[in-house]
Symmetry: C2
Subunit: 200 residues, 2 copies
Amino acid sequence: MAGAIDFYFEFSSPYGYIASHLADGLGERTGREVTWRPILLGPVFKTTGQAPLVDVPLKGEYSKRDFPRMARYHGVPYAQPAKFPIGTVAGVRAFYWLHDRDPQQAQAFAKVLYADYFAKGIDVSAPEAVLQAAKGAGADEAALASALQDPAVKDRARQEVEAAIAAGVFGSPYFIVDGEPFWGSDRMPMLEEWIRRGGW
Amino acid sequence: MAGAIDFYFEFSSPYGYIASHLADGLGERTGREVTWRPILLGPVFKTTGQAPLVDVPLKGEYSKRDFPRMARYHGVPYAQPAKFPIGTVAGVRAFYWLHDRDPQQAQAFAKVLYADYFAKGIDVSAPEAVLQAAKGAGADEAALASALQDPAVKDRARQEVEAAIAAGVFGSPYFIVDGEPFWGSDRMPMLEEWIRRGGW
């Protein structure tokens, strides 16, 4: 069976959010499973020496213009959150805890969390907001609330982020399929063509 | 008459080189003039605090893989130059000096210089290589050689780079059409659609 498409994303990343809206279609058209892998750009940027996009002079202004333009291009609802970027460690921990129990529910949770932040403007850095999103995806809120305090759950998330960095991930979204990396939502058509043509 | 597409690029930029191969087609399909504007990423990165792509951990490795992949995708001849990146101030000065005399010749020169560097592996940071490329484009080599020493010619190039930074340019290639900016060769299809649809 053909290998999955690893889909790395940060919950505070507008392009990751836009990619999350395109991920199901990508999986359907290519016949590949898409494995959702939330990461944290904080540790990634520590490794690469990069800064959050909006903090970079000139590039930051461009990004703020490009986020909604790219969203409109793909018909994705988008409202620039007032607090941006935010820390999303609670969301990442919740995702992997849910994933170990029910991968489909984890994916549903990711979609709710993204919509809460980028369409509804809810500050999803707060654990309460994460729990609310998990509830919206049908998860056991109370069990998750105590899991978020569990050192093993924290370790699980940290290991995923470290594994992503070891795999070369330096931004969001980032895709790896058949060992081939693609960075950015704007490279998704190229990724799809790569699969269709078997590379070039 | 519809406004021109400003095409900013750095002679040491692989994506700028690839975009230079796509620029004529872009102009033909959109019916817009494409104004070639070489810049220097050195002063740009000083403004933005960014580093050359290949010097960024992880991102650098990705780029080195992506340069030839992107070139093959577009059928553009590409051989990673041994010395990379290089300083291209002589090339930029030559371009604007030629441009003030014959814009078409300046564009022809830019194409020769890019091919010398990214297809033939010639180190075009050297003024001798720049003169050779200008000769290949039909320019007066001796007149250009003395122009390259002229403070006014140096100023002209510096002013172009400063104007680009003032216009928000932070990378290569970078396009501005009807006041709308697009960064990267991978955004050229979007730029084209933007013109066709009159924005969205």
